[in-house]
Amino acid sequence: MKGYRKYFTTKLVWFLTTFVFAFLLNFILPRLMPGDPVAVITQRVTQGMTSQSGAQAVYEQYAEQFGTNKPLWEQFARYMANVVRGDFGVSFSQYPRPVAQILGASIGWTIALQFPAIIVGWLIGNTLGALAAYLKGGFDKVVMPVSIFISNFPAFGMAVILLVVFGVNLRWFPTSGGYGFDLIPSASWGFVWSVIVHYQLPFWSVVLISIGGQAIGMRSMAIYELNADYVKYARFMGIKDWKIIGYVFRNAMLPQITGLALSIGTMVGGALVAEIIFSYPGLGYTILNGVIGQDYPLISAATLIITVMVLIANFAIEIIYGLIDPRIKAAQAD
């Protein structure tokens, strides 16, 4: 247990450090851009605004919010304090709704969509990869090229194809939104059913995006493990094949868990774009609206939230990995 505690502590320290740097990047990147960010933003926001005093008021509001008249460290402290309180300012495009409220409404959709989809995609991808490694021959020859192709297929492309085939041509599922536009969110069966139906296409497009890369990775890991010495020894001790396959796939699966941790950021990026294709009311769609509305506070907060979510997911995966792979504990105990 001592080894694991050490592993946990290292990971936690690393996680917190990354956390701080993520905040810092989110804070500093927009401020690194040339010119007075407040002036640029004000100019963008006030496009078409005729009243000079109105523009001036907007400018002052942002100068106050950014605190650009204060030293950088104070700006950062203020920013951190606001973020910790959950205060991300007021949205430009949906004035006067607070950003926190807008994000609060969309974050649930994104988590409910992406978390299960990435897990399911990971499971299916790994199963396919493992089967390809074990069965070889025809199965492998079909699964591998398809996986390579899918893993190169852009996320939005997958979403568009699903939308056209299943939404437009076959009319099995609706093509946009998180629930029927004529419904009001409630706990009724009608609403829940509508949510389930609307969930399918975005869900499967994220699943499909995640399958390819995982299948390829799992296949090569499993091939490596199948040739390992312990497989031969177990055979020579008379152990049955299905049991040995169990050993092999457990061992091949373990590095795939870290693989998931490393690729989760990319997957989330793809999934955000998939949300947009289906006008799914999650963070991706919120970002799109933020871009259209030139809504700086909304974009800044949304990117920060996504980063933090990815970091937490990453941390959770590493912690679970440390628990189930005994090699981690042994390595730390040395």
Binding site: P37, P154, F156, V168, I299, L311
Partner: protein, 417 residues
């Protein structure tokens, strides 16, 4: 060197990938030499014209020579095209609603069906439950099938410049034909037009070229940064290694796509040219190259030939150039190929979010995808507005990955199956 190339071109996967890529690249370079239209010229007054050969109606009518062809099934074809199965069913539906017994309606008997329609249709009549759109459809259908069975020609009339009265100048018989090659204005739109009425194919070719260069710039920037950091961290080591690895690990977990969004948004629409976007993509995607190069350099650092070079008093630059780089060159090339491909995909993703290059100058594959999305080409079934773009993006990415797999098998024989 030549030997290596020969070996590479013996790998089936590489050759397949290379052929696809070369075809796309050559196509995007040669096409503009033949078709010199500016890619963003708007020619269509309307959105999403389907692919096909567009023949000027005016020029056809005024063609100097017309030919008479007696073709047996001409009338059948005309009826089939203007009064198809769907229309017949709609007519039947209307007639049933108007009170004609269903047994008396035969959708296969064109003549009888049209006669029934003519005697019964009344555009002012309201049928319960019929939507406005459906009603308009019936009105359109009525005028389209009017005179469908007539064998008379059409009369062409022109305004008399003096009296202003219409005067017959010509008649067009049903058996009159023009030869398309003799019509003055014919425009081939193999992929139709987009939502703005621009020639899709010309636009797609230009977009492919721009996207490839974005990918190339992004890939080069990412590879250069990754290579430099990887070499420094791996070869010099110590605290420099620690710092570089810290930063690298940091950017491994912070999703690069999110950084891209933040930076692109901060730059602002006006400043975002294709080149800027490419450089930004490059700046956010060097992480994997840096990691991998470092790992390779660390394993090379204490090889005998490197030690020998150190003992001979060569400078660090000399050693890196002569004793390290040649050994990781194959790897760096592979990383570059992957970076180019992912740069193209990153641009497309950004554009879908509305954070792509500004839209007024050049098209990119991502921008085309975004326009198609905004104008709902997918939902409206305008496949030519997005499918060719998707196929192009996927083919470029797939071909590059194939090349990479091929190279990998040549340079790491253990992976060969």
């Amino acid at each position: 060197m030549i030997n290596t190339l020969r070996q590479i071109f013996r790998s089936g996967k590489f050759v397949a990938g290379f052929s696809i890529f070369a075809a796309i690249l050559l196509g995007s370079l040669i096409y503009p030499l033949i078709i010199r239209d500016a890619p963003l010229t708007i020619i269509g007054q309307g959105t999403f014209f389907p692919p096909g050969i567009y023949v000027s109606v005016y020029d056809s009518v005024g063609a100097t020579t017309t030919y008479t062809l007696d073709i047996d099934d001409a009338a059948v074809n005309r009826i089939a095209s203007r009064f198809n199965e769907e229309d017949r069913l709609a007519v039947k539906e209307w007639l049933v609603a108007a009170g004609i017994p269903e047994a008396e309606i035969d959708t296969a008997d064109t003549e009888k069906l049209l006669a029934q329609w003519e005697t019964n249709f009344d555009s002012t009549k309201r049928i319960p439950g019929m939507t406005n759109a459906k009603r308009n459809y019936y009105i359109r259908l009525n005028s389209s099938i009017d005179g469908l069975l007539s064998s008379e020609g059409l009369v062409i009339a022109a305004k008399n410049a003096e009296t202003g009265a219409l005067e017959q100048i010509d008649t067009i018989e049903q058996s009159d034909y023009v030869n398309v090659t003799e019509v003055a204005n014919v425009r081939v739109l193999p992929l139709g037009t987009d939502n703005f009425g621009r020639d899709m194919l010309t636009e797609l070719v230009a977009a492919t070229r721009v996207s490839l260069s974005i990918g190339f710039i992004a890939g080069t920037v990412a590879t250069l940064i990754g290579l430099t950091l990887g070499l420094l961290a791996g070869y010099i080591g110590g605290w420099l290694d620690d710092i570089i690895m810290f930063v690298t690990n940091l950017f491994t977990v912070i999703p690069s796509f999110v950084l891209l969004i933040l930076i692109s948004f901060s730059i602002g629409q006006e400043q975002r040219g294709a080149f800027t976007v490419a450089v930004v993509i490059g700046f956010t995607s060097w992480v994997w190259t840096a990691r991998a190069v470092r790992a390779q350099v660390v394993s090379l650092r204490n090889r005998d030939h490197v030690n020998l070079s150190k003992l001979s008093g060569h400078s660090i630059v000399y050693i890196i150039l002569n004793d390290i780089l040649p050994y990781i060159a194959s790897y760096v090339v592979m990383a570059l190929i992957l970076q180019i491909s992912s740069g193209i995909l990153a641009e497309a993703g950004l554009s879908i979010l509305g954070l792509g290059p500004k839209t007024t100058e050049v098209p990119t594959l991502g921008l085309m995808m975004n326009w198609a999305r905004i104008y709902q080409a997918d939902i409206q079934g305008r496949w030519w507005a997005y499918l060719p773009v998707l196929v192009t993006i996927a083919s470029v990415a797939f071909s590059m990955n194939l090349m990479n797999t091929g190279l990998d098998q040549v340079f790491n024989p253990a992976l060969r199956d």
